[in-house]
């Protein structure tokens, strides 16, 4: 079996030009295999979010092909995007509602998802009563109710403080090992990208091209202390080097 038929996500020389003439992507060509965690780092406005939107079907590619190997997609936005008028449980059940699942099944899945992200006692709370980190967890739980095989993350932890961010990184990795999804993760943080991923793609500034594909050889589970090893620093340096080239 070739990579083409087993990839969870594949971009085949994809271009994207918007109606107003902005060229967001040029020749985006990469694949994410099932169970791979791929991060994308790049300067602001380089088309990273566009990549995700095309992968999810929210936008169309102007040229090239996009293959998505599954219809079970999870999408996590930078903002937790919870419905303020629903409880945490009501929010987590939203996607199963939209997909027409029965109430008992919805309840079961939301309870399970809340347990996974550590919000089990908070199902009756309203979003405004939660901290930023907890809201992001609720958003994650919502996506988990559909057991996605391909998870798309758009800088989900960018708005959080560093401590919460690192904690959520650890928790995300635990989820990753448990659920075994394929992931495409957009981030500004080189450290976060290297810590979480099996591969890191570096994008150039607009128009966005993929400049480098860096393998991250560390085994899972990854301890938090990995962040402070020499090998980790070297890899971060390598990725940063490519990024600096991106700004040139």
């Amino acid at each position: 079996m070739t990579l083409a038929t087993t990839a969870a996500l594949r971009f085949d020389r994809v271009d994207k030009t918007f109606q107003d003439g902005t060229v967001a992507l040029v020749g985006a060509d990469f694949a994410v295999a099932p169970g791979e965690f791929v991060s994308v780092v790049g300067p602001s406005g380089c088309g990273k979010s566009t990549l995700l939107r095309i992968a999810s079907g929210l936008d169309d590619a102007s040229a090239g092909q996009v293959h998505v190997g599954t219809d079970r997609l999870g999408y996590v936005f930078q903002d937790a995007t919870l419905l303020p008028w629903r409880t945490v449980r009501g929010n987590v059940e939203l996607l199963t509602e939209l997909h027409g699942l029965a109430k008992a099944e919805r309840r079961r899945r939301s309870a399970e998802a809340l347990e996974l992200v550590g919000l089990a006692g908070f199902h009756r709370h309203m979003p405004h009563e939660l901290s930023g980190g907890m809201r992001m967890r609720a958003s994650l739980a919502r996506s988990l109710t559909l057991s996605p095989e391909l998870f798309l993350f758009d800088e989900p932890f960018g708005a959080l403080d560093e401590i919460t961010r690192e904690r959520l990184n650890d928790e995300l990795l635990s989820l990753f090992r448990l659920q075994r999804f394929a992931a495409l993760f957009i981030t500004h943080s080189v450290m976060e990208a290297v810590f979480l991923s099996t591969r890191v793609l570096v994008m150039s500034g607009r128009p966005g091209r993929i400049l480098a594909d860096v393998e991250i050889p560390f085994e899972y589970p990854r301890e938090p202390s990995l962040r402070f090893t020499a090998q980790f620093a070297a890899l971060c340096g390598e990725v940063s080097g490519h990024l600096r080239g991106a700004h040139a």
Binding site: G57, L58, L83, E115, G118, E171, S174
Partner: protein, 282 residues
């Protein structure tokens, strides 16, 4: 299997905000009461000190307004009947304005071309002076209750349309994307996302229009005097007859009606969206 580390275990109760009603402190009540006393004092001063006997009808003292307006059973009965009728017009007008206004806003929220086509007419509705429309209305619905109702609706309609449309369009773009991603149709989007999101703005619109509907009922009275008299007609009649105590009593009742409707919709709004809106703004 929970992935949360021990340090993160926060008891749910610790995160919920406290919901206490603070007891009313005596010194908080003093300023409003003080101002009220000042106003009444000023009133009496103008009544007795500034106005001579012949001109006192311009601003009769409060106790005489109460005596003649409310304590005289015949006057009271007349005032109450008029109050009831004006309330009928205002509430019915408001109800119609709400139904029509929300429907129009929902329609315009569905497509940009709809909004661009219909909204100018809504604005025209707002800016045309009622006076200019009176002959038209009189031709279609006569000079009685129906015409007063129509005037009331016309006056109360705009804030409902404008606020509801604004509310419907205020739903977060990320949420719209999320709904779209998971195959939500137009109706689902409207019912589960846009409509709840619009509630705070809608109730703000209802509150404004509630006040306007009372004004509309009174204005309708002035243009269309046929039939059972509402408060507007009574005010005008008392004015013409120089029965100023009754006139002030009628004006007072009209103000009370306006305040009551305003407070009601404020309360209703808080009940419906209070759980998630006020707090999230705080």
């Amino acid at each position: 299997m929970s992935t949360v580390t021990e340090a993160e275990q926060v008891a749910p109760a610790a995160v919920a905000p406290p919901r206490r009603r603070r007891p009313v402190r005596p010194w908080r009540v003093l300023p409003p009461v003080g101002v009220f006393a000042l106003v009444i004092g000023g009133w009496y001063a103008i009544s007795y000190l500034v106005l001579d006997d012949a001109r006192r009808f311009l601003l009769p003292p409060p106790h005489e307004i109460i005596d003649v307006g409310f304590l005289d059973p015949r006057n009271l009965q007349q005032l109450m009947r008029a109050l009831w009728l004006t309330t009928e017009v205002a509430l019915l007008g408001l109800a119609i304005a709400i139904v029509v206004g929300v429907a129009a806003a929902v329609l315009m929220s569905q497509a940009k071309w709809l909004e661009v086509s219909v909204y100018p007419w809504v604005v025209i509705l707002q800016t045309i002076p009622i006076l200019a429309l009176v002959p038209l209305i009189a031709q279609w619905t006569g000079f009685g209750f129906s015409s007063r109702l129509l005037v009331c609706v016309l006056i109360a309609l705009f804030p409902i349309i404008a606020n509801t449309l604004f509310g419907l369009q205020s739903a977060d773009a990320g949420l719209r994307d999320l709904f779209r991603l998971h195959g939500a149709g137009r109706l689902t989007l409207l019912v589960k996302l846009m409509f709840p999101a619009s509630l705070p703005a809608m109730f703000a619109g209802f509150r404004i229009s509630a006040g306007l509907s009372v004004i509309g009922a009174l204005v309708g009275d002035l243009f269309f005097k046929q039939g059972e008299p509402g408060l507007g007609i009574l005010i005008d009649v008392y004015r013409a007859r120089l029965q100023s105590e009754q006139m002030y009593a009628a004006v007072f009742l009209a103000s009370l009606l306006g305040i009551a409707v305003f407070l009601f919709f404020g309360w209703l709004g808080r009940r419906v969206v209070g759980k998630w809106y006020q707090a999230s703004r705080g």
